[in-house]
């Protein structure tokens, strides 16, 4: 479904945008109203999405149309969580939690190692980057591969607490690993700032293009 900004929609969007931006001046009732409307609408959107994507198809298609009555069991499991509001039987609310945690445990042990092992194996592959014809070594790429390996090992050694840091074999790599982690975190921070600024530019573009109808 395509979306077009009608004048009414643009006005609603612009008022919502300015209501949120008033927070830059100070905490105020207009921002608080916008904040509460946002939480309310987002919750409503989540409830409707949940109903439309999971509950409705399960009841309408799986159970009523296809006769898969076994799906009553997960529905009952989910409903049991509401028993926590009834003190006499609130202990029954532990069953759905047990099921979910059990599923999470099984999933983590059965499927997560594949992701982890692939990352570990890829990290310790050959460091030599060769040209397409296989004739020579690409020096910069090889140097980068070796550096990556050094960065990874030293960063890992920072989390290695079995041996005391006074031991030079662990102390120096851990000290360098701390620097690597700092560079990594700084880069992640810079990326986050840029993402937020992009969002802000997006809002300004909306205000100029669709609300004020000024072509940039």
């Amino acid at each position: 479904m395509t979306w077009t900004w009608t004048p009414a929609a643009a006005w609603v969007g612009a008022i919502a945008t300015f209501a949120c931006l008033t927070y830059l001046w100070a905490e105020n009732p207009v921002f608080r109203a916008a904040e509460h409307i946002f939480v309310g609408l987002a919750s409503g959107f989540g409830i409707v999405g949940n109903w439309d994507q999971y509950i409705k198809p399960t009841i309408q298609t799986d159970i009523m149309k296809d006769g898969k009555f076994i799906y009553f069991i997960p529905i009952i499991i989910g409903l049991m969580i509401y028993l926590q509001y009834f003190p006499k039987v609130s202990w029954l609310a532990r069953y759905p939690m047990s099921f979910w945690v059990g599923y999470g445990v099984g999933y983590t042990l059965a499927f997560q190692p594949a992701v982890l092992i692939k990352q570990v194996v890829d990290s310790y592959g050959s460091k030599f980057a060769v040209t397409a014809k296989g004739g020579g070594i690409i020096f910069t790429q090889t140097l980068n591969n070796v550096l990556f390996w050094v960065f990874l090992l030293t960063a890992l050694s920072y989390f290695f607490f079995t041996v005391k840091r006074e031991n030079k074999l662990v102390g120096w790599p851990a000290w360098f690993g701390r620097w690597v982690i700092m560079v990594g975190l700084g880069a992640a921070f810079g990326n986050t700032v840029m993402a937020r600024i992009s969002l802000f530019i997006g809002r300004l573009q909306f205000l100029f293009t669709y609300w004020l109808q000024i072509k940039i």
Binding site: V12, A16, G46, V48, S90, V115, A187, V193
Partner: protein
């Protein structure tokens, strides 16, 4: 038994997910293939608990006329009004989507974009150069920010390349080290749960009557 049986459910469900495929347990009902669906259906049914708790808190605010209760009223009207609209109009209904695109999406992106301003003041406090580590954080963040903006390239053509290098090598290596540590931590935790040592998920639910 009120704690032991749920613990047994946790362990059996975990073992079933791990070994279900190997032993073809419940093949007649395609149990192992539908486990994902069981999980998502049961969680979808239970998700309303968040809305109920939010409603309880804000209904209490309104009933006791707490300061700013009018905002709580606004939240309740928006939440349940939008829910009713969605159920009647449908998830892809024209009015439901109009409210989403015009209002909810605008509020969402503006609130998140506000962080662009506050993150700058946070950066000032965090990055005041006092140690080598803080300097490294500052320099790498500055290079990445300049490398990702046109002004950076205008200042020096090398900024985008250096930003890419930092993202590809030190950043990936550091994040991978953190990720490997987190994976190992999660394996230890799930093993503790599977062996019945960790039982935190069985406690603290419900009121005083839950023993």
């Amino acid at each position: 038994m009120r704690k032991e049986l749920p613990l047994l459910v946790t362990i059996l469900t975990g073992l079933f997910v791990i070994f279900g495929h190997d032993f073809a347990i419940g093949e007649k009902w395609q149990l192992i293939n539908s486990m994902d669906k069981w999980q998502s259906i049961s969680q979808a049914v239970a998700l309303l608990i968040g809305a109920i708790n939010l409603t309880r808190i804000h209904v209490n605010h309104v009933r006791r006329r707490k300061a700013g209760y009018i905002f709580s009223l606004l939240l309740l009207v928006c939440m349940w009004g939008y829910t009713v609209l969605g159920v009647i109009d449908g998830y892809k209904g024209v009015t439901f989507r109009w409210v989403y695109n015009a209002l909810l999406a605008s509020l969402d992106s503006t609130i998140f974009s506000l962080l662009a301003f506050y993150i700058a003041s946070a950066a000032y406090r965090a990055f005041r150069v006092r140690t080598v580590e803080a300097s490294l954080l500052l320099v790498s963040a500055a290079i990445v920010m300049l490398g990702r903006a046109p002004i950076g390239e205008a200042i020096w053509k090398g900024f985008p390349d250096w930003a890419n290098w930092i993202m590809r090598f030190p950043n990936t290596a550091a994040m991978r080290a953190v990720l490997i540590g987190a994976y190992l931590g999660s394996f230890v935790t799930v093993l503790r749960i599977l062996l019945g040592i960790e039982r935190a998920h069985l406690g603290g639910v419900g009121g005083a009557g839950m023993k």
